[in-house]
């Protein structure tokens, strides 16, 4: 329970309209897209940095846990208030403060929705590359906290690669700024990289300066089918190995394609054992040349069919199908576990085989889906969490998948984060000293551990 005086002073900061405390409203903030729940005591909607600072000052005095939230689409439980306390929801702090395409940056508040930023940039002929599957609703603040990725991050890099600077409120309520509007900046530690991906455990980002890029003049999308999953994965390793860098290179196995097609009915190749969705962008002539090189590699690996999307509409349909994968798998069972391991691109064929073998061993359905070009794999296992026996097998399968990724010099998460989902696996890829070092930083920045407690650090 939070001290009633503290509650009153917290309410006074935002006013009653921006404070939720009824059981009905709190129940709407006990979840995100991960399947655990924890009830907060209070939800506050700050609109300014000063409000955030005021809230944190009170929370640090009373040692009240504070969990940041944007749109609540984390798939690792990062925005679940595991220890109760305050949920600090940034959805109303959503102004785009500056668009400066001449100097190629934007300044935004954390509640700005990724897709809204894209919409605002499009008229200038610019875009912000990170494109997580949740981009239609997820916020820049959440994207920064989780260091979000997405399909086109293969070529363009992930969220952290676009942060030039930020303003952060620390646990004490103190406001710090670092970075600048400049792409080149080695003035002191690059602290934005520390806060990006910290999942709200180190501070609250209240504004961020992001690098933006001009939209490519030309985009082409290919749908490629194989009659063998192993060949599909080998083609990926071959393309990347040959020094070709498409904007996106997505792999889907038969189970994934069939499940999507059942819902979407857009004529996906349901008989193919493996499917690749490849996108190249840039100068038109370069795209054509790149497609030619890619086609050679695909044919050398036994591609059965290569189709180029003819219209923008066709292209959008293919991507819609790909983006719907998570959702359609959700339909198959009460609980869906999506993995997010990464392995070096050259290990994609091996990792794919291992995933399929492990799923077979535990008699589980698996849909293998991957941002294959950068080795980021999302095997999805639909199951029923309330079925103890089945869930036991799921947990064992994921233990083994995680260990397999680690054994191939891979890692635990490419873009989803650790949150509540993967803390126990950290030792697989980080040694004791490294984990302890994270603890040292956490302790220095948030000595009372009020920021997003119960998570990985």
């Amino acid at each position: 329970m939070i001290n009633p005086d503290a509650i009153n002073s917290l309410k006074a900061i935002v006013g009653k309209d921006r404070c939720f405390d009824s059981p009905e409203q709190l129940a709407c903030y006990c979840y995100d897209a991960y399947f655990e729940e924890a009830m907060p005591d209070l939800v506050l909607f700050p609109c300014t940095r000063d409000e955030v600072s005021g809230i944190l000052k009170i929370c640090s005095v009373h040692k009240i846990p504070v969990t940041a939230r944007g749109a609540g689409t984390s798939v690792c439980g990062a925005s679940i208030p595991a220890r109760g306390g305050v949920v600090l929801c940034f959805s109303k702090m959503n102004r785009i403060l500056e668009i400066n395409t001449k100097d190629r940056y934007v300044i935004v508040e954390p509640g700005v929705v990724n897709a809204d930023l894209q919409k605002a940039l499009a008229p200038f002929g610019f875009f912000y590359p990170p494109d997580p599957g949740s981009m239609a609703v997820s916020t820049i603040g959440g994207n920064v906290a989780q260091n979000a990725g997405g399909p086109r991050c293969l070529k363009y890099g992930v969220t952290v690669d676009y942060i030039l600077g930020m303003e952060v409120v620390l646990a004490s309520g103190k406001v710090v700024r670092f970075g600048s509007r400049n792409v080149k900046d080695v003035t002191g530690y690059r602290l934005s990289s520390l806060f990006c991906g910290s999942e709200g455990t180190l501070g609250m980002v209240t504004s961020v300066i992001l690098k933006v890029l001009p939209l490519p003049e030309s985009v082409s999308t290919l749908l490629v089918t194989f009659d063998d999953l192993d060949n599909t994965a080998k083609a990926v390793a071959d393309i990347i190995g040959a020094g070709i860098l498409p904007a996106a290179l997505e792999l889907m196995d038969k189970t994934t394609i069939r499940t999507i097609e059942e819902k979407a009915h857009i004529g996906l190749p349901v008989d193919a054992e493996g499917t690749l969705l490849i996108e190249v962008d840039g100068v038109k002539e370069a795209c054509e040349k790149e497609i030619k090189k890619i086609t050679e590699k695909l044919e050398a690996n036994g591609a059965v069919n290569i189709e180029v999307a003819k219209t923008e509409d066709e292209r959008e349909k293919l991507w819609q199908a790909r983006r719907s994968a998570y959702g359609v798998f959700a339909k198959l069972s009460p609980s869906l576990y999506t993995e997010d391991i990464v392995v070096p691109a050259g290990k994609i064929p091996e990792m794919t085989r291992m995933i399929v073998d492990i799923a077979n061993k535990y008699k589980l359905i698996v849909g293998v889906m991957a941002h294959a070009g950068d080795g980021n794999m999302h095997p999805m296992i639909p199951a029923d969490k309330s079925n103890k026996e089945e869930w036991g097998r799921v947990e064992k399968a994921f233990d083994e998948i995680m260990a397999a990724a680690a054994s191939l010099n891979g890692t635990l998460s490419g873009e989803h984060g650790i949150g509540l989902a993967k803390t126990e696996y950290l030792p697989l890829v980080m040694d004791e000293d490294a984990i302890e070092f994270m603890g040292v930083i956490k302790k220095a920045v948030d000595p009372d551990g009020i920021l997003n407690p119960g998570k990985f650090v």
Partner: protein, 424 residues
């Protein structure tokens, strides 16, 4: 957890991106994902019934966009309706909404009320009218009731010309249809009704307007009056399931969706004639689709000056009808119409049946954006199929706006040879 409908919300959050109330309010409790969570909490006894719960569940436009985008296939509207019933049972509804539900359940009551309201509208002094608002709409901008209900007017017209079904009908070209007028056309917007008739006559279609038809039942269903819908369903099926009918024409997407999607299931639930419900459902078609399928609107005579037109796509057309693009196809086909799409053509207007009346603040925020974007197109006409959208959006347009909301049929009818310039 899997719900009682065998569907399960994975909380992916896709629905947040299309939900008009979430977009307007920016708080999770205004989202479809949260409503489902609360309904689950309620049925698992983790949360008791309360006014607050009722309010959160009711504060929804019932647009159906959440169900449309949901990858897990949750039937949100159905679950909301069931929950609304429970909440209204426990906590009642606003008196004025309750009387609306009771009104629509019986045609004679609607007629009487419309008559009384018509009288009131004529005698309400101007000052008074400007001061008071209906929801967020000033009374002055609220549509004037039809002098005579549309269906009564057409009946009288036919009585005056015995043996003649409709004037100026060329030889029968297409067939015979039933026109389900809906309450709005009958009592509020007879210009839509006459336009639909003009077009169908021009096409050489024999039109039957059953006298006994009544409210489709959706307003009652959305406001906890499920058992009241049975009568309406029975009455409507009896007059719509006539022999030798080629189509059941609707001008309102909500009525259309009710007849097409909800009637078969409701007929089963109420133990009514399911076969009849299926037959009717199969024949339901919106007027724009019907025109595009059986006439050549490209051939409608062209006006000398191009009319600049923009469009608002009603949610129930987009989410529940088989041809969401029908009206836009018609606009594009009409020679002399220059269709300029608005930026947010396909986003909700904030009307939502009685929502604009119950939650004027939220509704206003949603509608104002629509109005700004529609005005930015420079159009003179704002075409939309749904009468509630028309009331709601029209409510923000005074004479100075230079923009009038009309039904697509009304626009199309303007181009017909012998009817050009007809006053609606």
């Amino acid at each position: 957890m899997a719900d009682s409908y065998g569907q399960n919300c994975n909380k992916c959050g896709f629905c947040l991106s299309v939900c008009p109330t979430y977009q307007a309010q920016g708080t999770e409790d205004a989202s479809p994902r949260a409503r489902i969570q609360l309904i689950d909490f309620f049925s698992d006894h983790k949360l008791g019934s309360s006014e607050k719960l009722k309010d959160i569940i009711s504060k929804c436009l019932m647009c159906g966009s959440c169900a449309n985008i949901c990858p897990a296939g949750i039937n949100h509207p159905e679950r909301y309706v069931r929950m609304r019933e429970k909440m209204i049972r426990d906590h009642g509804d606003r008196p004025e909404i309750k009387s609306l539900v009771s009104l629509l359940a019986k045609e004679s009551r609607i007629r009487m009320a419309a008559g009384a309201a018509g009288m009131a509208q004529k005698i309400v002094p101007r000052v008074f009218a400007e001061k008071y608002r209906l929801g967020n709409i000033a009374l002055k901008q609220f549509p004037v009731l039809n002098n005579v209900p549309f269906r009564t007017a057409t009946r009288r017209a036919m009585e005056r010309m015995p043996g003649q079904k409709s004037k100026g009908v060329p030889a029968l070209k297409y067939g015979r249809v039933v026109y389900f007028t809906g309450c709005a056309t009958n009592y509020l917007f007879d210009d839509t009704g006459f336009a639909v008739l003009d077009i169908l006559r021009h096409m050489g279609v024999e039109v039957i307007i059953p006298d006994t038809q009544t409210c489709c039942g959706i307003p009652m269903l959305f406001h906890g009056g499920r058992e009241k819908v049975k009568n309406n369903l029975n009455t409507n099926l009896a007059c719509l399931d006539a022999q030798g009918i080629d189509a059941v024409i609707v001008d309102c997407p909500t009525c259309g969706a009710a007849l097409k999607n909800d009637y078969p299931g409701l007929a089963k639930e109420f133990g009514l004639d399911q076969e009849a419900a299926n037959r009717v459902a199969e024949k339901v078609v919106d007027i724009s689709t019907f025109i595009m399928a059986h006439a050549r609107p490209e051939g409608f005579p062209q006006n000398h000056e191009a009319i600049h037109v923009t469009y608002h796509q009603p949610c129930h057309l987009r989410n529940h009808m088989p041809a969401p693009g029908s009206a836009q196809a018609l606009l594009n086909a009409l020679q002399g119409v220059e269709y300029i799409p608005a930026l947010d053509m396909d986003s909700c207007c904030g009307g939502g049946g009685t929502f604009f009346y119950e939650y004027p603040e939220v509704s206003r925020g949603i509608a104002k954006k629509k109005v700004t974007n529609a005005k930015a197109t420079g159009a003179e006409l704002w075409v939309t199929d749904c009468p509630v959208c028309r009331i709601n959006l029209g409510g923000y347009l005074d004479d100075a706006a230079g923009l009038t909301v009309v039904h697509p049929a009304r626009l199309a009818a303007q181009f017909l040879p012998d009817l050009k310039g007809r006053k609606g």
